[in-house]
């Protein structure tokens, strides 16, 4: 008990700088009625060379099926830590709306948002959505090639 407050102070000091230079980004994904069970989704950022930068949201509770989110799981080695940025799978016709903190330095800097999707016993769609993360592109919906009917982000 004696050590509780110095520890909290250290934690707060570490957390502060990242909050200062980041802003919330809202991700809205509407799925099509593809006629299957709940879809697994991975939404993540890559740099201009296509290298994984950071994971934004994983709608895929069972890690054993992450290998079906092909591009994302390959980039992260299938062992990503997703505490606080993960949730349930998304049913056909349903939508997913989440807000995440994104560093200002990643916006308008050549980074791209990718979405991998997979549905049990149906086709996998690695990177079915790919779009640049820019201030100008915010709020403009795009369609995916697979189960994503429309996706948009707002800054």
């Amino acid at each position: 008990m004696k050590h509780a407050w110095p520890l909290a102070a250290v934690a707060g000091a570490l957390a502060l700088p990242s909050i200062a230079s980041a802003r919330p980004v809202t991700l809205e994904t509407q799925l099509a009625n593809y006629g299957g069970d709940g879809a697994y989704l991975a939404i993540y950022l890559t740099d201009r060379n296509g290298r994984h930068q950071r994971t934004l949201w994983v709608a895929a509770p069972k890690a054993k099926y992450w290998k079906h989110l092909r591009d994302w799981s390959r980039a992260t080695g299938g062992t990503a830590r997703v505490d606080g940025i993960s949730g349930a799978s998304v049913g056909a016709g349903r939508s997913l709306r989440v807000s995440v903190e994104v560093a200002d330095a990643l916006i308008d800097a050549g980074y791209e948002i990718h979405i991998d999707t997979a549905v049990e016993k149906m086709k996998e769609n690695p990177s079915e959505v790919v779009l640049p993360l820019t201030a100008a592109g915010a709020g403009k919906p795009v369609a995916g090639r697979g189960y994503v009917k429309s996706f948009r982000y707002t800054l």
Binding site: G35, G36, D37, K67, R74, K123
Partner: protein, 735 residues
């Protein structure tokens, strides 16, 4: 123990199992439907197929083969991805691929109760329960039928028991397969057994060149037959760094689009092959006939659950409460009970009460609870049934083992009373074994083991009376058998035979007041449907134990016909033979399935004396197909007590009865049926060789004489009465 392993999981999981099994049955239909719709690819290699499809559907990305053989192409149509069923012969899209929403819903109900992991766990536990129930049930059935080798022998017991056992025996292989594979699939889902395939079959590999070889010429695709294909992902048109990915039943890997050769390949490992096999055996996807067989097996689960629950309830209801049960070490009289269905407990409770009423300190317990020593015991009484062919019943399974380690009290006497059914080959066989074991252990026998046939109350009372004398204390036994609900019957006609009114025999025909209904276990009111040979239980005036009379008619005839001989001083027989048309009685039906002609066209030899003719003439009347039936009938003489004399002559004339042989015990040349049988020995041996069944009905002494005669008739033929009994070909209705 085995019985508990069988009933407890059954009762707990019954409802869940019914849901899982019925949804499984529904799903079992789909593989056959899909198989019927799938277009056969014949022998076709994947290279040719891929070339055909990409020629007709230029935007094709992925080809998937369903286990049924249906081929699905995922392709871009404009900006949208479409899934189409393709014809392997032309590569053209035949129809859009629309997986059945109903099938998906039923499948999710089947494998996770429409829930998430909670549902998956519940279903996995249900599968484990089913496996346990099926295997313990198999063990119980083997014990009941007299050993593993006799698993296919005819099932004995009443209708409910037969319905349960016979259904279970047919469905067992399917249920074991469904349950065992279901358990394995559950274990794999939760990671308790490895899934295999640890190596990534698609490591980050690059094409060797930017140019692309035609699909039809790719050697790696040419080597794979379409029947082995799971999925083929082609290289993306716009991405020159993309490769082809192929998944087959034998392994998976990446293929170089420039050369058509493997860039990487991981063969399916042992675990993957095991899971594929388990999946095939569970779902029958790709093996439609297996799916249908498993589905049919699963359909029996609700029936087995319902009949099993009813059997369990019946056993429980038969278990009585004992008042003033003395502690084991203080009792002077130890009463041990061996019971399978708990019916023996009813008798034990009555005896317990009578012994306690006579001033004894009685300790009553299951035989399995035999103590290593009894400090105060002076006598040991054992009431036990016999399970199947001479085996110990459930509550006595450990008795002989415990007896071996027991310290036998000095000067302790014992007596054994066996409960059984003379239809079974080793009547009261276990009681006999217990008697011998107790004598060998050093207990002093009071007498040879007594027997009670088919819960006969008079047999039980007679033994108690003897016991009271043997221990010097008269016993007052108040035994009230569990009485089924009775119905009211009206006498419509009677035919009397015999000169002496004190010993006359009457054929009585009743009509139910309410129309006969179908026998449904949950409908207990009104007279249920009955067959010739079943027993009519009649309550004598003033109450008391029912008397049983064999039925000469079936409910389909609309009348209830019995033969009653008046016994001097007989309460019920005097009452019945004194009835005039219009009078009413209270009665119920007790099934007696083992006593009726077996199905088929084999000859039937009917042997009876006196009122024993009742069910036999019923069988002959119901022989419109003129199956060879031969009757040996014993009566007092041709003019006195010759029941159905004219009707029998008529049945011979229209050949429903092939031969009629009579024996008259009071004629000038006195003869009994067994004499007639012996005289016909060669013919009877021949009939038995043709598969004949023998049905005997009458008094105990006649039946014993007839059995001895048959023993002589069969001598040297390689068959014995015991063997015929075991096959259900020698059955008795004896009183």
């Amino acid at each position: 123990m085995l019985r508990r392993l069988h009933s407890i999981p059954g009762l707990v999981a019954a409802l869940l199992l019914a849901v899982v099994a019925l949804t499984g049955s529904m799903l079992s239909v789909f593989p056959a439907l899909e198989q019927a719709q799938a277009r056969s690819a014949g022998t076709l290699d994947v290279a040719t197929l891929a070339a055909r499809v990409s020629a007709r559907l230029p935007g094709v990305e992925t080809l998937v083969r369903e286990p049924s053989g249906t081929l699905i192409a995922y392709h871009l149509a404009g900006q949208e991805q479409q899934a189409s069923i393709v014809d392997p012969a032309s590569g053209a899209a035949i129809a859009p691929y629309q997986p059945s929403a109903v099938q998906r819903w039923v499948k999710n109900l089947h494998r996770k109760l429409l829930l998430d992991d909670v549902g998956r766990v519940a279903v996995g536990v249900a599968a484990a329960c089913l496996l346990l129930i099926a295997l313990s049930g198999l063990g119980l059935m083997a014990r009941r039928l007299g050993g593993w080798r006799r698993l296919l022998a005819p099932v004995r017991g009443d209708r409910l028991q037969k319905l349960h056992d016979q259904t279970a025996r047919v469905a067992l292989p399917a249920l074991v397969l469904s349950a065992a594979t279901g358990v394995l699939m559950s274990l794999a889902t939760f990671g308790w057994i490895p899934e295999g395939g640890s190596a990534d079959p698609f490591p980050d590999v690059q094409p060797t060149a930017a140019t692309r070889l035609a699909l039809a010429q790719m050697p790696a695709l040419q080597q794979v037959d379409v029947s082995r294909l799971h999925q083929l992902k082609l290289a993306a048109a716009g991405d020159r760094t993309d490769v082809i990915e192929l998944e087959t039943a034998d392994g998976s890997g990446a293929i170089d689009p420039a050369r058509g050769t493997w860039l990487s390949y991981a063969p399916a490992d042992g675990w993957q092959r095991l899971h594929a096999m388990v999946r095939l055996l569970h779902t029958g996807e790709g093996l439609w006939w297996l799916a249908l067989l498993l589905g049919a097996g699963s359909l029996t689960v609700p029936l087995l659950g319902a009949t099993g629950t009813l059997l369990w309830l019946r056993r429980r209801r038969a278990l009585p409460r004992l008042a003033a049960n003395a502690p084991a070490q203080e009792a002077d009289t130890v009463l041990l009970v061996g019971s399978e269905g708990n019916t023996t407990w009813g008798f034990a409770a009555a005896l317990h009460e009578a012994l306690a009423g006579a001033g004894l300190r009685v300790h009553t317990a299951p035989m399995n609870e035999l103590q290593a020593r009894y400090r105060s015991a002076r006598r040991l009484l054992v009431l036990t049934s016999t399970y199947g062919d001479g085996a110990a019943p459930e509550s006595a399974r450990q008795f002989l083992g415990r007896l071996a380690g027991m310290q036998v009290p000095a000067d302790a006497a014992f007596a054994v009373l066996g409960f059984g059914d003379r239809q079974f080959p080793r009547f009261c066989g276990y009681a006999q074994a217990v008697h011998e074991a107790l004598a060998a252990a050093g207990f002093e026998p009071l007498r040879e083991p007594g027997t009670v046939d088919r819960q006969s109350e008079p047999h039980f009372r007679a033994w108690c009376e003897w016991l009271g004398q043997a221990i010097g204390r008269p016993l007052e036994v108040n035994y009230t058998p569990r009485m089924p609900p009775t119905t009211s019957l009206k006498l419509v006609s009677r035919n009397d035979y015999g000169a002496d009114p004190e010993t006359l025999t009457a054929v009585l025909r009743f009509e139910p007041e309410a129309p006969a209904r179908r026998r449904l276990p949950w409908r207990s009111r009104g007279l249920p449907a009955f067959e010739t040979g079943d027993l009519l239980g009649v309550l004598p005036p003033g109450g008391g134990a029912p008397r049983y009379y064999s039925l000469a008619s079936a409910s389909s005839e609309g009348v209830v016909e019995i033969c009653v001989r008046r016994h001097p001083g007989g309460l019920c027989s005097s009452h019945l033979t004194g009835l005039q048309p219009g009078a009413r009685i209270e009665a119920f039906v007790r099934p007696h399935e083992s006593f009726r002609p077996a199905a088929g066209a084999a000859p039937v030899v009917l042997v009876g004396a006196g009122t024993g003719i009742g069910p036999l003439i019923g069988f002959i009347r119901q022989n419109p197909r003129r199956r060879p039936m031969h009757l040996y009938f014993g009566a007092r003489d041709a003019d006195d007590g010759y029941l159905y004399r004219d009707e029998l002559a008529g049945l011979v004339d229209d050949r429903r009865l092939r031969s009629l042989t009579t024996a008259f015990s009071r004629a000038s040349k006195r003869a009994y049926v067994q004499d007639r049988l012996l005289a016909d020995a060669p013919r009877l041996r021949e009939l038995v060789a043709q598969g004949a069944q023998v049905l005997v009905c009458g008094g105990r002494r006649m039946a014993d004489g007839v059995a001895a005669a048959w023993e002589r008739i069969l001598a040297g033929s390689g068959l014995s009465v015991a063997q015929l009994r075991a096959q259900g070909r020698y059955v008795e209705d004896v009183y």
